[in-house]
Symmetry: C3
Subunit: 146 residues, 3 copies
């Protein structure tokens, strides 16, 4: 494969999401594609980063059944109504949100190959808001490469 080299560029974009909390899952793939196109970068990577400690990022086949399955799964993994020590610190009732977010982690890196995100056909990038109230959230989409 031919090496892609040239002038390196970084483009930092910020997305604003209105979220409902309680495992609210947002497909941000199209926004990511648009940022990659707008960057003009042909080869490199896109980093999707959830700013804040009660949200996470992953990929999934975005269809209603799986969205429901993920909610069930996260509830099983870190139930909302268990007792969390976090409550002793802040009394804001979102210990489950933090544990889920730390577990899923805030970033996903997707290679950019020939100007496109190298995702599978049924693979979407999703932001998952785990908090316990509606919020306005920030996602950074960073595209870097040549």
């Amino acid at each position: 494969m031919k090496a892609k080299s040239g002038e390196f560029k970084v483009e930092n974009y910020s997305l604003e999401l209105r979220t409902q909390g309680f495992c609210d899952i947002h497909d941000i793939t199209d926004a990511g594609r648009e940022k990659v196109a707008s960057s003009g970068i042909q080869n490199g990577q896109a980093v999707f980063f959830a700013v804040g400690s009660t949200a996470g990022m992953t990929t999934v086949e975005y269809e209603p059944g799986l969205i429901q399955d993920l909610k069930v799964f996260f509830e099983k993994m870190a139930p909302q109504n268990e007792v969390y020590h976090h409550e002793e610190t802040w009394h804001d009732g979102n210990g489950f949100s933090h544990v889920r977010a730390s577990f899923l982690k805030p970033s996903v890196t997707v290679p950019v190959v020939d100007g496109k995100l190298a995702l599978g056909t049924w693979q979407q990038v999703v932001y998952i808001d785990f908090d316990n109230r509606p919020r306005t959230r920030e996602v950074i989409v960073q595209v870097l490469g040549v």
Copy 2:
């Protein structure tokens, strides 16, 4: 530490894997090392990315006991024979595969330092196929840096 600078390069490689599904774990460390060497890149990073929504990527000490432990663990976490809402959408029986994949996530980033992947001695990069049938899968190994 001396800064490494110079002409930035990106190399995108594609690996083809024949997988059996059901938590089939493939050690792709040597393939990654080969791609790093072939890229000529001395400092930067290697991104290992699983294309598709029923596989994930992580690191592990690749030895038969732990391979077995991971299978047991993923089965406990998202059992194959539970009821998944995904089934209502596609009837393909792999809801458990999707949930496991979304949870493990598709990429691992490893720094490249002085021409080598900065892995520990007992730390291998593995692709885990969670699907429920044999498949031919694509992994992107992207090496970028100087």
Copy 3:
């Protein structure tokens, strides 16, 4: 947004941590900030990478309650006293450490925007040592960009 371009640089830093094992959680955010500042890189990314197969990396609101919650959570997910096949290979009693580490994964990528890590106010980068004994561990903080 204006593209940031210029001479690409990579800086690889190594942190040494003294860890106690058993889900010992270290806040390495300040060390990361110091490395970003010292690199002089204004836009790009910082990769935090745990060398070795019994530790992981994530972000969390670093406060005593959540630190305790994460310990409880990992113990529930992969209990220390279950039987692990890893034991048959090495007899070192840390099967639970490996499973937790593979699940959490070794790296976190944080965008660097205008010279700063793009973390939320209550979002810290943490290294989690899952091993079953005190150790001296290595973390790579790699800053790359322009």
